[in-house]
Symmetry: C2
Subunit: 145 residues, 2 copies
Amino acid sequence: MNSRFSTAVHILTLLAATPDERVTSEFLASSIGTNPVVIRRQLALLREAGLVESKGAKGGGWLLGRKPSAIRLSEIREALGEEAALRMHRNDPHPDCPVGDNVRAALEQVYCDANSAINQRLRRWTLQNMLEEANHLTATQAKKR
Amino acid sequence: MNSRFSTAVHILTLLAATPDERVTSEFLASSIGTNPVVIRRQLALLREAGLVESKGAKGGGWLLGRKPSAIRLSEIREALGEEAALRMHRNDPHPDCPVGDNVRAALEQVYCDANSAINQRLRRWTLQNMLEEANHLTATQAKKR
DNA sequence: CACATTCGTATCAAAAAAGGTTACGCAATG
DNA sequence: CATTGCGTAACCTTTTTTGATACGAATGTG
């Protein structure tokens, strides 16, 4: 699996942290430590799902499409294209292999099962939760000093 | 994510299908369509977990370490090194990023959660199940002809 | 005891996937 | 009408994963 989901959550949490204010992909990119184009590519997918909206030109940038409390992490994952949690091997089995393709078919079921388990868990978390959690951590760190 | 888990299940199902008979890594490799060394690398990990045993020399090869009904897919995943289902992005956030590292920390919790969800699901399936499922599919295909 | 077989493993090469960069068009703002 | 910021394609680089070759050690076999 790749780390796009993580990046997306990071971006969206940033947007959640600055409500009613458009943020440019350039700002987001420098916050996260990557390139604006990388950000835009991902936000494009999230926009299709209605999670964000964008505007070009001066004063343009990105906004959340809904309240942070109404955006679940499962939606983010789905918007990005729902990559499988477990990946099938792509080798062609030997034609004489006694279990051959059927193991693959059986595995498909298992993977489907596992995938829905993940989504179930992610559905429990909203962007609001993430923001609160992050703020909580920040506060705790501040106290320590 | 990589496809090693899939390959491992394939291998082990093959072993389950031919009980009391040592199978060489060369045979396994050609069944699956890869190189014997690739197979051995994985079986080495599975052996550490007690899921298989090996023997060199003539008449050597691999055997399951337990009954297929006593090997859960979750154990296989764990034996291979328990790769995370979701991966953290490795970019260094900008020092001024308001949520910065804390999003990462929050995400860690989520990922831990998601990971245990997967293992819970995989714990429900045994090699015996996989074998039966594969056989069932084979039988169904045979009927159709 | 020489020999064949099969694992064990290191090292290298190849392929695939992911991520980053540049470039340029377009729309909207001011 | 110049500037800003998105939209996207094309391309390059890096990282990850997988496969190949080689050779040593161990264990049966005749």
